[in-house]
């Protein structure tokens, strides 16, 4: 599954790790994140993320 980078702050969403702060389980693909999920570092929405590959 592909990693995505927040273009605002540089945080990388790694599907293998998920996002424990938002109760996102490991193994959750970026596309499967809820529409209102936000970057855990800067609060930016999903639309600020870009794919950076595996």
């Amino acid at each position: 599954m592909q990693k995505y980078e927040c273009k605002v702050c540089g945080y990388v969403y790694n599907p293998a790790q998920g996002d424990p702060d938002s109760k996102i389980a490991p193994g959750t693909a970026f596309a499967a994140l809820p529409a209102d999920w936000v970057c855990p570092v800067c609060g930016a929405g999903k639309d600020q993320f870009e794919v950076i590959g595996d």
Binding site: K7, D21, D36, V38, G43, G45, Q48
Partner: protein
């Protein structure tokens, strides 16, 4: 600010700051601010909701003393920022048995930022309740309004929602509540919009989620940590719904600076061209601009044009600053352009575009000219005005505005 009763056994005990002119050494405070702290006495326990900026700790202590408060059992920390948490260490010295009640994220931040020791905390989860005896508090985790640890408290019996910075306004006024007159309501809405623009705008996604959550609560009073208390919660909730919506207005914000009047002549020409086309223009001459006013205009505008001359081969620093701010605040602007004049060369467009990478707007081709605008340059500005009009028409903004005005 004297302690004032909001309802039986609920007091506002915070501080007014009439004189503060700048927040975060960044945000102008034309109307001062307040740091609201609330005391709730149950039949068994007493809770203090947030504290005040450290500079105003004596005001808070005076208020508690005037109410004869001998014991505080819980200090509810909605937000770790120092203007609300800054007095906690002093209070813990005075009331050593008190527990700081907050979520796990805020706990960590309070430990890091104001050095509160681990044993002082009581960590709560989302929707957990805490009884004070005849008064029950429910905690609602609401991250990103405007830090990751923010939360709200709902006082069930009195139906009061304590929101900390969410719904706040930098507005010092004598009255505790928003006044009933149309003018008083407009005054607080203006201050709240400024606050939203400066503080909350980047977090529209989270705010939308929180507004949905709050629909499940019957709220009679919203008590924020800055500015007056809302006796009519719908006033501010409706305003927030509008501000965070994806809708934009038929407005063009023009943020510009000019050194020797070449860029100024371009801006004047562009303003006229846009006005003639029925667009609403909001020009900001940057060296004379209150950045809060500019941020407010960005809440609704469909288009932003940045205007600048070159200085030492780059954009004028005033325009760089405005672009940086625009990029950080991430307004819902749909179209962006740049106009400007250079003396002999430079990388103004590349530089300003690079600073605006967070903005999801479509770029309308910039108009960059050499020296003072000549006939061909003015034609390019006409083309730019036409392009902006076409975009606004295509989005049905022009017609909508006409209807609104009617």
């Amino acid at each position: 600010m004297a302690a004032r009763e909001i309802k039986t056994n609920i007091w506002s005990v915070g501080a007014l700051d009439w004189d503060r002119q700048l927040f975060d050494e960044l945000i102008p405070l034309p109307e001062g601010t307040t740091y609201n702290s609330y005391l709730i006495k149950g039949t068994e326990k007493t809770a203090l909701l947030d504290t005040v900026d450290p500079s105003k700790t004596p005001d808070l202590l005076d208020n508690l003393s005037s109410l004869g408060v001998k014991q505080i059992d819980y200090i509810i920390a909605h937000h770790a920022e120092q203007d609300h948490s800054g007095s906690i260490p002093v209070l813990l010295t005075m009331f050593p048995q008190a527990k700081v009640v907050t979520n796990i994220k805020c706990k960590g931040m309070l430990q890091e930022h104001i050095l509160i020791s681990d044993d002082k905390f009581m960590v709560i989860e989302d929707r957990q309740t805490l009884s004070l005896g005849a008064k029950n508090l429910e905690f609602i985790l609401a991250p990103w309004v405007h830090w990751p640890e923010t939360m709200l408290t709902f006082l069930k019996e009195d139906k009061i929602l304590f929101t900390c910075d969410f719904f706040g306004s930098h507005l010092a006024q004598g009255g505790l509540l928003v006044g009933e007159s149309a003018a008083a309501r407009q005054k607080v809405l203006r201050a709240a919009k400024r606050y939203y623009a400066e503080i909350m705008m980047p977090f529209r996604t989270s705010i939308k989620k929180h507004l949905e959550t709050l629909k499940a609560y019957e709220i009679c009073l919203i008590a924020p940590s800055h500015g007056p208390v809302y006796p009519d919660p719908e006033l501010i909730i409706k305003a927030y719904r509008k501000w965070i919506s994806d809708e934009v207005k038929n407005e063009v914000v023009i943020a510009y600076v000019s050194m020797h009047s070449s860029t100024r002549a371009m801006i004047d020409y562009l303003l006229d061209a846009l006005i003639k086309r029925g667009l609403i223009v909001k020009p900001f001459n940057l060296p004379r601009t209150d950045m809060g006013e500019l941020a407010m205009a960005l809440v609704d505008a469909a288009t932003v044009v940045v205007g600048a001359p070159t200085v030492l081969a780059g954009a004028h620093p005033e325009a760089v600053y405005a672009a940086y701010l625009l990029n950080s605040l991430r307004p819902k602007v749909r179209y962006l352009s740049i106009v400007g004049s250079y003396g002999w060369g430079g990388k103004m467009v590349e530089q300003l575009s690079g600073l605006l990478s967070n903005i999801k707007a479509e770029i309308i081709p910039p108009v960059i000219i050499k020296g003072y605008p000549k006939a061909a340059d003015l034609t390019m500005l006409e083309v730019l005005a036409d392009a902006i009009l076409a975009k606004h028409q295509n989005d049905d903004l022009v017609r909508k505005e006409a209807c609104n005005n009617g």
